[in-house]
């Protein structure tokens, strides 16, 4: 079955992204397709490569990147939410005259249309938030 996942909360603040990760992993293990993971609101903070948690803690950002790489996942960060929270890729850096970028590996910045499309094209949209 084709699933889409929406994550509305950032890492280390709320369990939503942990739950979403475990659900996504279990769905892939069961042979389902994850057509997109959409990070919205504070959820965009899951996509910054500046995150450096203590070594004995789970690295939530890296964990998403690795799962994404392993299964070729489409990890999409909402552009408007990202601009507000300082999540920047090459294009946003140039467009907004910033001197750095921090989008984590495997993530891309795009618009809300990607969420609407995920809702239409997937068979189930599962939302994780506060």
């Amino acid at each position: 079955m084709k699933f889409a996942i929406q994550v509305n909360e950032g890492p280390y603040q709320h369990q939503a992204t942990d739950s979403a990760y475990q659900f996504t992993k279990a769905a892939l293990e069961a042979g389902h397709e994850i057509m997109r993971v959409f990070f919205y609101h504070d959820g965009v903070n899951n996509g910054t490569n500046l995150t450096t948690p203590p070594q004995d803690d789970r690295n939530i950002v890296k964990r998403w990147s690795e799962l994404g790489k392993q299964h070729d996942l489409d990890l999409v960060v909402c552009v408007a939410a990202a601009q507000r929270r300082g999540i920047v890729d090459e294009g946003e850096m140039q467009r907004n005259g910033k001197d750095a970028q921090n989008i984590a590996e495997g993530f891309r910045i795009s618009g809300l249309g990607q969420l609407v499309e995920a809702g239409i094209q997937s068979e189930r949209l599962v939302v994780f938030g506060d």
């Binding site: 079955m1 699933f3 509305n8 369990q15 939503a16 739950s19 475990q22 659900f23 992993k25 279990a26 769905a27 293990e29 069961a30 389902h32 189930r124 949209l125 599962v126 939302v127 994780f128 938030g129 506060d130």
Partner: protein, 101 residues
């Protein structure tokens, strides 16, 4: 048309479980996870409401019970303890998923 309702808030803190119970129709399923697992503990007003809800299947996520130190024998009768794999199959088996976030 069956729905999987997911509840992630304690019924002792927020009213989302009450809203969910008001909307859940016979044939649908309710999964309690994250802080929602507190709704599955036997002997509370919440589990009374759950017991009174005919035709709705109730589930609680085992890993989130464990994360909160709630042992499985505290879970009320009639509520099935599930893992993430079963969470996924519930999402697939029902026609849609409604998150009461």
């Amino acid at each position: 048309m069956s729905t999987l309702h997911t509840v992630n808030k304690s019924p002792f803190e927020k009213s989302s479980m009450d809203s969910c119970l008001a909307y859940a129709k016979a044939g649908s399923s309710v999964l309690m996870y994250e802080d929602g697992i507190y709704g599955a503990i036997k002997g509370t007003g919440c589990t009374q409401k759950i017991a009174a809800k005919d035709g709705v299947n109730f589930y609680v996520l085992g890993p989130d019970l464990k994360a909160r130190g709630v042992s499985e024998d505290k879970v009320a009768d009639g509520i099935e303890i599930v893992d993430y794999a079963k969470f996924v199959s519930l999402a697939a088996e029902n026609d849609k998923v409604q998150a009461w976030v």
